[in-house]
Structure formats: structure tokens, C-alpha cells
Subunit: 164 residues, 2 copies
Amino acid sequence: MVTIRTATDTDRDAIWKIFCEVGAPGDTYAFDPKISREDALAYWFRADTRTYVAEKDREIVGTYVLRPNQPGGGAHVANAAFMVAVHARGKGVGRAMGEHSLSEASCFGFRAMQFNFVVSTNESALRLWKQLKFKIVGTLPGAFRHPTKEYVDVYVMFRSLMDD
Amino acid sequence: MVTIRTATDTDRDAIWKIFCEVGAPGDTYAFDPKISREDALAYWFRADTRTYVAEKDREIVGTYVLRPNQPGGGAHVANAAFMVAVHARGKGVGRAMGEHSLSEASCFGFRAMQFNFVVSTNESALRLWKQLKFKIVGTLPGAFRHPTKEYVDVYVMFRSLMDD
């Protein structure tokens, strides 16, 4: 059973731990591998951002952020980013956070959600987002340097929130 | 004759003036219309960003920025953003800055350039980027709220720098 709630300052240690774990292999996200704890948490708790954590058996096993993908005339489209602790993968944590983010985004009045950078080799993410009705609306040729596969394509994914 | 050079602190007034002019109509860029001078200039002179100005007859008539579009595994793709003073439009300032940015990006070792948010109704921008060999690689449905045309599509545009 996964519970999702708004993150607080006391979650910062757990979030940073997941950040390091997820970022270290460098195979799914475009993170600066040398990012400091301070900069990472500042980004994850940015003023325009809502930050959530997923708990399972009282342990924080995932975190996600929700925010406008663009300011001004683009602020009706949400963006979200997700991280799941390595030992908690394959247990529905990502799906629970994905569904929660769509519901939250809809509540806050966003009309759509966009992912700017889904690495094409990240099959579990692609499968999940397709199941949650996201479509690939763009392909960025060779836009991610994978640690073992070299330059691989990246997808832009998009989902309306107006059809539900 | 347009000259392009690296921006300095003494260009900040001129850049802010162009920022306001370009942002005010709200029909081409996703800017926060209430952005402060301080925040706008902090964004335009961000640590990971190279900032340029275009001069014509000793007056600053345009400005652009060049930076990695993503950190880490995405940092080989450049992003750039351009603004031309209203009274200097249609005189090749945008094209001069566009060509300059491609040359600079190539010099700095970027492998490609990506624009994340080209509003589909911004015909002069689209024409210019197509002339400079950018391709539309993604379409974001209704992702920009135009002040008079309501929700219009936005293009993601991409150009390799390896074929030149």
C-alpha cells in the first residue's frame, strides 16, 4: 500500500538519498552528476513547484514534483518528474505517483501534462506513461548520452487532462 | 550592419528594455508577464548561460542566450532564446543572431540545438528557423494561450550541428 502526501522539510534527507540513487547510474535522467545536495533540494522544492513523497510501510520510497511546464502563456500545461528508490521498484510506486500527479494537476486547473525528456531506452517509464494515456508528441534525435548506449533518442510526451 | 558581441553588465538596462517590449504583447513567448527586472536579468545571465547582444549603429537592438538545454546526459544539446527590439524588426537582426548562435554552439562543442517552445502562430520565427535548417520534431497541442487566438500549438524544433 502506497500513500502519497505533500513533502515537508523533514523529508529532505530521504529525498536527497533517492536523488543520489536515481541520478548515479546516469541512464534515465539528465541530471548534473555533480549537483550538490543544496542545489538538488532547491530545484526539487522550487517556489513554483509542489513536492510530494510516496510512503510504504512508513518509509519514503519515492518522490515527485508538479509545476507549470512554462510560465505565462504556457502555464496551463503541467510538468512532473518522478523518482523511485531502487529497492522499491516494480511495486507500483511509480504508477501510484503518476496517477496521483494527474489527479492533482487536474484539481489545480492544469489542462494537460507534458514530459520534456523521456529517454527512449527507459522502457519501464515509457510503458507506464503509455498506460496512463500519454502520447509521444516529439522525438529528439540523439538528445541523451547514455552511459553505455551512447547517443539515444528522447521523447516528449503529452497528455490532455480535459478528456477524463 | 549588425555586430554581435558578448553582453556585459553595462548592457543590462538595454536588455531589460527589450525584455519588456518583447514580453508585453504575450503573443510569442511563455514569459511570466509580472517578472521583475531582477528575476528577468538573473535568468538571462544565469551561470550556465552565455549572453550576447546585437548592435546596429551603436544601439543594442537584440539579445540572445546560449546554454545547455539539459544538464548531465543532455548537455550536448544547446538551447538558445532570442529577442529583437520592436523597432529593429525585419532588418535581419534575428537572422544574424541565429547564425551567430549556431556558430558559437558549434565552437563550444554542442552537437545540436533545440528550441523547446516555438509558438505555431509566430510565423516569422518559424520561417527563420526553417531557413536555418531547423526541423519541427514535436508538436505540443494547445500548449500556448495566445492573447487573441486562445490555445494554439507549440513546436519543438531541432537542428544537428554535425552536418555542417
